[in-house]
């Protein structure tokens, strides 16, 4: 078993739904858990490259804000072309050409180093659009609203992490935060799961599912986050994922079978809880076990 501490305090609980492999059912699970929670939740879609949770939550939108990040702007009058900014920049986002500093904003990581080092005070911050944040609420069950936040990376933008940080930080924290995370094991996934109280890794029982689960497990273990596994389409493929979990003392929190009716409901954007009411109860139980940080089923 991974370490699961008993939770004694009342601070908000953050549950991240992640996976190595894409298309294993992260969004399906995250949206269904929000619906099955039986309490007010904030659902945050951190998969800013390809956000999909809104298609299943269908919230009433109440706020749209454009999100900028800071990139340098050079005052050509003040710039002495000393080159200190270009020398410091680790991302090749500034070059000296034609007697002045030139900025390649798409390479800039917004570290502020050039602005701080410029001896002439010739560098200031300029806003660059990185994407947008949309906030809304779903009142399907008015007693337990789902507050919904979704980030969307602008087309052609390279860097997802600054926008993911914005999705995680905006708005009031409900007692339960559910994060729908991006796939993979690199910076976007790590930015999303970092600081969570528990991570659910969603996988499928196939060689691809297993390979990517192993990478995701290695990642959350290095980040020292407690985690469990949900096996989706559990009755397809082979037993290698189950064997791996058993051999590595990893809790399997839930298995969801493949059903054509579930796949078809998903294709239309219908909720898993509506497609399979029996699963809704299991999700509720699983969620509350995790929040109590007892051993999951």
């Amino acid at each position: 078993m991974p370490e699961m501490r008993k939770n004694q305090n009342d601070s908000p609980f953050t549950l991240a739904i992640a996976s190595g492999k894409g298309g294993t059912g992260k969004t399906t699970l995250a949206t269904a858990l929000a619906e099955a929670a039986g309490m007010a939740v904030t659902l945050r879609d951190c998969d800013v490259e390809e956000p999909n949770a809104h298609l299943f939550v269908r919230p009433r939108w109440n706020r749209h804000t454009e999100q900028n990040r800071h990139v340098p702007q050079i005052d050509a009058q003040r710039c002495s072309a000393c080159g200190k900014c270009a020398e410091l920049c680790q991302f090749n986002a500034i070059a000296i050409a034609g007697g002045r500093a030139m900025v390649f904003t798409e390479l800039c990581h917004s570290c502020q180093g050039c602005r701080r080092i410029c001896p002439e005070g010739a560098i200031s911050d300029m806003d660059m659009l990185m994407g947008s944040l949309d906030c809304g609420v779903q009142l399907k069950n008015p007693a337990t609203p789902i507050n919904f936040i979704s980030g969307k990376l602008a087309i052609g933008q390279v860097m997802a992490p600054p926008l993911i940080r914005a999705v995680k930080n905006v708005g009031a924290a409900e007692p339960l935060n559910i994060l729908d995370c991006p796939p993979g094991t690199s910076c976007p996934m790590i930015t999303a799961v970092r600081g969570s109280d528990f991570v659910i890794l969603v996988t499928e029982p196939t060689p691809f599912g297993l390979n990517d689960l192993e990478l995701a497990v290695e990642t959350v273990r290095q980040l020292k986050l407690p985690f469990g596994v949900v096996i989706n389409r559990a009755d397809t493929g082979n037993s290698a994922v189950r064997d791996y979990c058993r051999d590595n003392d990893i809790a399997i929190a839930l298995e969801i079978p493949w059903e054509r009716s579930i796949a078809e409901a998903y294709s239309r954007g219908d909720s898993l809880c509506d497609a399979s009411p029996a699963l809704k109860n299991k999700l509720h139980t699983m969620l509350h076990h995790i929040m109590m940080r007892e051993e999951t089923v």
Partner: protein
């Protein structure tokens, strides 16, 4: 020599399974896996590694506790929330959050921060039953996935030139960010593999815009078509409006998973009842090949 990239926007639509089949069906190709943070193509191609190289790129900051005065300026200046104070008052850099910008190193009044070159991953050149394969693995939490993707593509093209191969087939990553942009820029064509679901349709729209943004010819394949043919057809109509031709519709078939378990691609998996799906994939490949090499 032409370079074909297979991407999807949404993950799990069947990119890698189809890429593996293309590597089987293509004559004289070099295969590359650019999904460097969750690579799976090797599970089908079973590469025998001929050469391995470490990939170093960028640096990471490490605080020398014996020199640090605890002034906290580094924490204040770090825009990545990578520096925090421990309970005992010392400061530390979280290597998973550090992006290697060097600001803390430069401005530390005590010069207490080291800046070490970071090894971000490994890449391999391998032989497979379908030809040479170039593949890589980004270390957990490492930066610079885009640079590793560019390196894998560059090496695959170099191999293709040396071997007089006509085609490089690249298995791309999901999403629309850094590694995807590094995968598609300058390619001869991009095949977008998607599925007929509200998510698939939404994500297809975004990758189609990305291909248009970088001016790269794109083609569409709808996988698992029979799960929702109505939506699949409307996605094809939408694609046509963006000048993206639909080159194939592939039905949902458990043979993909069954073949994967045997480390085979679906066109190698010759079990009774799988002729239809194999034919659909072969037809897709024949059409795609004509578009890439008119």
């Amino acid at each position: 020599m032409k370079e074909l990239i297979v991407i999807s926007g949404k993950g799990g639509t069947g990119k890698t399974s189809l890429t593996a089949a293309f590597c089987h069906l293509a004559h004289n190709c070099v295969c590359a896996d650019c999904d460097v943070d969750a690579a799976d193509l090797h599970l089908i191609l079973n590469p025998e590694i001929a050469q391995s190289h470490t990939f170093s790129s960028g640096h990471e900051a490490i605080i020398r506790q014996d020199t640090c005065t605890g002034c906290g300026l580094c924490e204040k200046y770090c825009t990545f929330d990578a520096i925090s104070q421990n309970k005992n008052g010392t400061f530390r850099v979280d290597p998973y959050a550090c992006e290697g910008c060097k600001v803390c190193v430069e401005f530390c009044p005590a010069q207490a921060i080291d800046f070490l070159e970071a090894e971000c991953g490994v890449w391999h050149s391998s032989s497979t039953r379908f030809g040479t394969m170039v593949h890589a693995r980004l270390h957990i939490g490492a930066e610079n996935s885009g640079k590793l993707v560019s390196l894998v593509r560059r090496e695959a093209r170099t191999v293709a030139e040396a071997e007089h191969a006509e085609l490089v087939i690249v298995d791309g990553p999901p999403g629309i960010g850094c590694p995807v942009i590094a995968s598609i820029t300058g390619a001869d064509g991009v095949l977008i593999v998607t599925e007929p679901s509200v998510s698939g349709a939404h994500d297809f729209e975004r990758v189609a815009q990305l291909c248009a943004h970088f001016n790269i010819p794109a083609y569409l394949c709808i996988n698992k078509y029979d799960i929702n043919p109505e939506l699949g057809d409307s996605m094809c109509a939408e694609a046509a409006q963006h000048d993206i031709p639909t080159l194939g519709k592939i039905d949902f078939d458990p043979a993909f998973t069954a073949a994967q378990i045997r480390c085979q691609c679906v066109t190698e998996y010759e079990e009774p009842g799988t002729e239809t799906i194999a034919t659909q994939v072969r037809d897709l490949w024949n059409t795609l090949e004509k578009h890439i090499n008119p």
